[in-house]
């Protein structure tokens, strides 16, 4: 579904991601792990065509991603939830969801899609009139996911979805991602919470200094002594 070949990406002439090959198939959860500054976020931004400075090839169902604008990409089914909070704090939950379907010009379709998300995230249904700023961290993450899913993307990329969340909430978020994959979507996420993330993933990729040092089944990475020492030691 998503295919990345020889991706190099960076800022102002300095390439941070330095030749990454990666495929993410429908129904799969793939996690990128790596030290701070390894280039994980840069990798996702590169894939999402948010960096001017990128080389290589990224295709979504065979279509060249670099030829598409952010709006077109979203329309074609590639969604990206960036690092940090990205709800609109001064908009209500309902307005945030409506903005998730900004590209849908059909109000009836939009309403149906939002209702479907409220079934998937019932906690949000009671908060529709609340400002997003007043939600808890876990609720905001749910809102981000629901807002993203309004477009029914084929591929969802998430940059550190578990950051700042309580352990039970983290489990919930990963369970949601599993459900999305089970529904035939592809999930590519970056995570610092390596053990939990790999447990919820099919495959993992270890990024070191912008290169993919290791790519394997999640279970294999979980059992890898070097990965455990370098990335799960302090947890």
């Amino acid at each position: 579904m998503l295919s990345i070949r020889g991706l190099r990406a960076g800022y102002g002439g300095r390439m941070i991601v330095d030749g990454v090959d990666l495929d993410v198939a429908a129904g799969e959860v793939v996690t990128v792990i790596g030290q701070n500054g390894a280039g994980k976020s840069t990798l996702l931004k590169g894939i999402a065509n948010l960096l001017r400075n990128r080389e290589g090839a990224v295709t979504l169902d065979g279509e060249n991603v670099f030829a598409l604008s952010a709006q077109d990409l979203l329309g074609r089914g590639l969604a990206f939830i960036p690092q940090g909070r990205s709800v609109f704090p001064g908009l209500t939950v309902a307005e945030n969801l409506r903005m998730g379907g900004f590209l849908l010009r059909d109000p009836v379709l939009l309403r149906q899609r939002i209702e479907a998300q409220l079934e998937a995230f019932p906690a949000l249904a009671k908060l529709l009139g609340q400002l997003a700023a007043n939600l808890s961290g876990g609720q905001q993450r749910q809102l981000e996911l629901a807002r993203t899913m309004v477009m029914q993307p084929k591929v969802i990329m998430l940059d550190e979805p578990s950051i700042g969340l309580a352990p039970q909430v983290v489990e919930q978020v990963f369970a949601t991602l599993r459900t999305l994959a089970a529904g035939g979507r592809a999930v590519l996420m970056v995570e610092q919470n390596v053990r939990r993330a790999l447990q919820a993933s099919d495959r993992g990729i270890v990024l070191e200094l912008g290169r993919a040092r290791l790519q394997d089944k999640a279970a294999a990475l979980l059992g890898d002594e070097r990965v455990a020492r370098l990335y799960m030691g302090k947890r």
Binding site: L50, S69, A70, Q71, L74, G75, A79, F80, I81, P82, S86, V87, F88, P89, G90, L91, E95, R98, M99, G100, F102, L103, R147, M151
Partner: protein, 289 residues
């Protein structure tokens, strides 16, 4: 009685300030651009109204609409050619604004000459008896048109898809991109809307005062004061700030010579800022902790 009369006068001028200030707040809120050339767009509105009335058709409501539309077009063009590139740099915005002010004012001098022109709408001088007070139709019209424009703006921002997208972009530009909002389109729309409102203001004030190259200076000064008073970034605050300043300066003429009214306004502004540094309705801006 004099008190009530001045309150009405103040409300009228205050609505002009509010209309002006709202546009600057919108542009600043969405783009983080301070457009000091907002005043010359106001002035251009006055001239466009005059031009329509004298050369096209002497029908004031149509002239108002066309002036607002013309202002919107000017705004969209300015955004595209000038301000979109300057979003990161306040000093450059100021330099560009000053350049634009000079250009537009000189352009107007070239087209219309240095003499002030008058928009003559005899019907608007009709006195409307309002209890014991007499106000002209023009004054009533200003308050009504501004009221309708503000109500429309409120509905647009809170109910419509594009208006909500404008608020979304002002709160988190990266998140706006992520949901598929094209920032450049939002910027152009914001600038067009703000400039349309400013030009409408100039066309509304034209028949009361004269139309001259520096006619935008007064609303610029008072509009900026209204923004600071209301709280930078708050649309509602800018409206209330504008109305408050209009009423305040009108009432102050009852107590002190007319020349002192700006002093009264700024004294109140300073007092408010001492108590509330972010203004009456101010919040912190995007990016601030």
């Amino acid at each position: 009685m004099a008190f009530l009369e001045q309150a009405l006068n103040g409300l009228m001028m205050g609505s002009i300030y509010a209309l002006f200030a709202v546009g600057m707040v919108l542009v600043f809120g969405v783009m983080r651009v301070l457009n000091f050339a907002h005043g010359v767009i106001f002035m251009a509105g006055g001239y466009m109204c005059h031009a329509v009335m004298t050369h096209v058709v002497a029908f004031y409501p149509l002239a108002l609409l066309l002036s607002a539309a013309g202002g919107a077009v000017i705004g969209a063009v300015l955004e595209r050619l000038v301000f979109r590139r300057l979003r990161e740099s306040l000093p450059m915005q100021i330099v560009a604004s000053l350049g634009l002010i000079l250009m537009v004012q000189n352009g107007v001098l070239l087209l219309f000459g240095p003499e002030a022109v008058q928009i003559s709408v005899p019907a608007m001088r009709t006195v409307v008896p309002l209890g014991p007070l007499g106000v002209t139709l023009q004054q009533v019209l200003i308050v009504v048109v501004v009221g309708v424009a503000m109500a429309g703006l409120h509905l647009f921002l809170t109910r419509s898809r594009l208006g909500t997208a404008m608020r979304a972009a002002s709160q988190d530009l990266q998140a706006a991109r992520v949901v598929g909002i094209n920032p450049d389109r939002v910027f152009a729309l914001t600038f067009a809307l703000a400039s349309g409102l400013a030009a409408l203001g100039g066309a509304l004030l034209g028949p009361l005062f004269l139309v001259f190259p520096a006619m935008g200076d007064l609303p610029l000064l008072k509009g900026l004061t209204a923004i600071v008073l209301g709280g930078m970034g708050s649309v509602g605050g800018a409206v209330l700030g504008g109305l408050a300043i209009g009423v305040l300066e009108a009432e102050s003429t009852l107590l002190a010579p007319t020349d002192y009214r700006d002093l009264v306004v700024f004294a109140v502004l300073i007092l408010v800022l001492l108590v509330r540094p972010y203004g009456l309705f101010g919040r912190r801006l995007r990016g601030e902790p």
